[in-house]
Symmetry: C2
């Protein structure tokens, strides 16, 4: 590939043009045809597992030669079980209802014009991801079921695996009589091609980055195409004076420790001064469960195992069994803390006082506002969406879990009987 | 103002920080308080008309000295009637229902978690506009009613008028006990400040350009912040073989000639070959009404007054009493023509055959798809939205008319009774 940036722009334009044609076919296709493509892909993943695993071996060998870390190599690795899990996720998506053609609104104007808002695909979606090759199938399948075409750009360390998985996907589409251009893998690993993808606002409708913060930050900084993503999940719970101590303890332990590495994990706990007498139970339970606590002077006076919190701790998404803890004077100070340090992902409170809780939720500027429940429910599956492509903290189109419905947009249909505008 | 781009970035960040605080107040405010601010602004527009018109005189004098065209000077001009119209538009917005706090969805999960989707403000919205000073009030009022803060950047030729109108707005907000930072005018006319606004994706949630294509194109090309806008309205109607000749004639005349300069005006007419025998009535009516027609050879053979269409005609949004006309072999060719030359704004068909019409609408990739009605209905008022800030042809968040509801987003509320995730 030539270094001239226009070459990459032309490449993206050409891929997107073919993808757009595929969207027109998908948008008009019955659910059964889209599902057939997903089922055929699952079948082929099983029958062609050998060639996929062979390609994956090449990536693993190259990765070992390049000295990739064991964690990265594990992310890269496919085996029979992981392929079966990917096939299973395709079947999960098959079982979900059709996100297209839903009539979302329907009203009639005084002049007799009937106006409907009907769900249609977003269009051409760029998906940029890192070393996990399963994203090639998972992301394309969600796009395809919702009538969108995907331009896929995976990590260079997974290039052979991604090509093998993409071949299966293209065959699955063809098996169902659908245009394989509905799922295209970028034919180059040149980083400049990502730049071209991010500025292609004339030909792409959306970009979804799936990966670490470095990737998400680059996409958000550079993209002229709309982005659905979240950079951080620096999530907070506030313990209101009315909080039940047992509930608070159970919810906070779950929110922090169930899986500390997911984006819905709790990162900072704000305890109302009026609740301090009950705090030792909660803090002790966290410490006993192996959670490191970093707190202010008041809290450290309660338990000597609590380390000192610094300014950076309020800003940090640990993604680890570490929790920042702070005393606040009231709900107002808790809201100010969250407004200053939060990332708009998932925040909330524990409170028996429902009125106070509702007032608090209404003033949170977060995609997901939680009352008396674990922040780890910030997940498409837990919301009942069946499958998700990620979590969005932007404010437009979709916030929170991005599932099939969030991968659709709408068209107004104006149905008349010859009306003209006076 | 210093030329250092970081200075502008810091300025936008500071304005946006104050605006964000105002949003928190607005988001939690009752409808009556937001309406009170709009009413107070309308009252002050009437009582302080003198100072606004005086400021406007300065802009007009400066514009005349700089040799602005009579059309531009007219756009810039305010007088008693125009101020009264602005005050009236405020009162129209007061009468509209509250777009905030609507519960858009509400469901309960098997574990008892209740999940609601609740309408909340988008946040901080940049509005970039040109010479019409009324936009200062109109745009800020729509943002404010929907709980958003507006960062306003008007045309340099209207700088005195905009400052005078902004003072009225700030006083109106203060009269209602609301933070005047909910509507801020950029304190500099430096073009580089617009660049800073467009890249401020960390502090702004949305940018809305209101003006000509040059402005919209610059905003779409440069913005790292999400944009709601439309660049072109190259709109099409297809005359299906089943179209009624009288309806087709009435609708097409209205769609082209009622107001040829609006973005919903018809620009290209596609006539099915099977309808050619009825075409002379429609074409003759257009020509007799003073519409210039530019057509292909088949149509020119029907009426010698039809000029020759060139490739550029299919691409042109005339915004004038000129219409491109073309014969197509069937609906498929019409759809291909629209996919190639259309701008995704408003397209549709005239047809008595409802089944064929529905199939056609389902394959149109347009924000607004019209059957048997004038394309000039592409308007927030005609949709029943009461007021609009513009029309969007992007595919995310809002498509078509952008009214109060479209200026809101949502927050998920997860309401539990102590649930933890297994």
């Amino acid at each position: 590939m030539n270094d001239d940036p226009r070459t990459h722009d032309a490449l993206i334009r050409d891929l997107a043009r073919a993808a757009r044609k595929a969207v027109r076919q998908l948008a008009g296709s019955p659910l059964s045809q889209r599902n057939m493509a997903l089922e055929a892909t699952a079948d082929r993943l099983r029958t062609q597992a050998g060639s996929v695993l062979e390609a994956n071996e090449k990536d693993l060998a190259a990765g070992q030669a390049r000295g990739l870390s064991p964690a990265l190599l594990d992310r890269l690795r496919l085996d029979k079980d992981r392929l079966e899990a990917i096939a299973g996720s395709l079947e999960t998506i098959v079982a979900l209802p059709d996100p297209l053609h839903r009539i979302m609104d329907d009203w009639t104007r005084p002049n007799g014009l009937r106006i409907q808002r009907v769900a249609v695909p977003i269009g051409v979606i760029g998906v940029i991801y890192e070393s996990r090759p399963n994203v090639t199938i998972d992301a394309a399948a969600l796009c395809m079921k919702s009538g969108n075409a995907a331009l896929l750009r995976g990590g260079s360390e997974a290039v052979h695996s991604n090509h093998a998985l993409h071949r299966v996907l293209a065959q699955g589409l063809a098996d169902a009589g659908l245009d394989p251009a509905a799922a295209q893998l970028l034919p180059t690993q040149d980083r400049a091609a990502v730049g071209a993808l991010l500025r292609a606002h004339d030909s792409l409708d959306l970009v979804i980055p799936r990966g670490g913060k470095g990737l998400v930050k680059r996409v958000q900084d550079e993209a002229r195409v709309p982005v659905l993503a979240h950079l951080d999940g620096n999530n907070h719970l506030y313990i209101h004076p009315s909080a039940d101590v047992q509930m608070a303890t159970a919810v906070v332990l779950n929110a922090k420790l169930r899986r500390p590495g997911i984006c819905g994990a709790l990162e900072t706990l704000l305890i109302d001064r009026a609740w301090l007498d009950r705090a030792p139970v909660l803090l002790g339970a966290l410490l006993d469960a192996g959670c490191e606590l970093r707190g202010d002077a008041t809290l450290r006076a309660l338990d000597s195992r609590i380390l000192e919190a610094r300014e950076a701790d309020w800003e940090t998404e640990y993604l680890a069994p570490i929790l920042a803890v702070r005393v606040v004077e009231d709900a107002e100070q808790a809201l100010n803390h969250i407004a200053r340090y939060g990332s708009g992902h998932t925040d909330g409170l524990i409170a028996e006082d429902t009125e106070a809780a509702n007032a608090f939720l209404g003033r949170l500027d977060s995609a997901i506002a939680v009352h008396n429940a674990s922040t780890q429910f910030a997940d498409g599956g837990e919301f009942g969406f069946g499958a998700e492509i990620g979590i969005a903290t932007g404010r437009l189109h979709a916030r929170g879990p991005v599932g099939l419905e969030q991968l659709t947009t709408f068209q107004y249909r104006v149905l008349g009987s010859g009306q003209t505008r006076p």
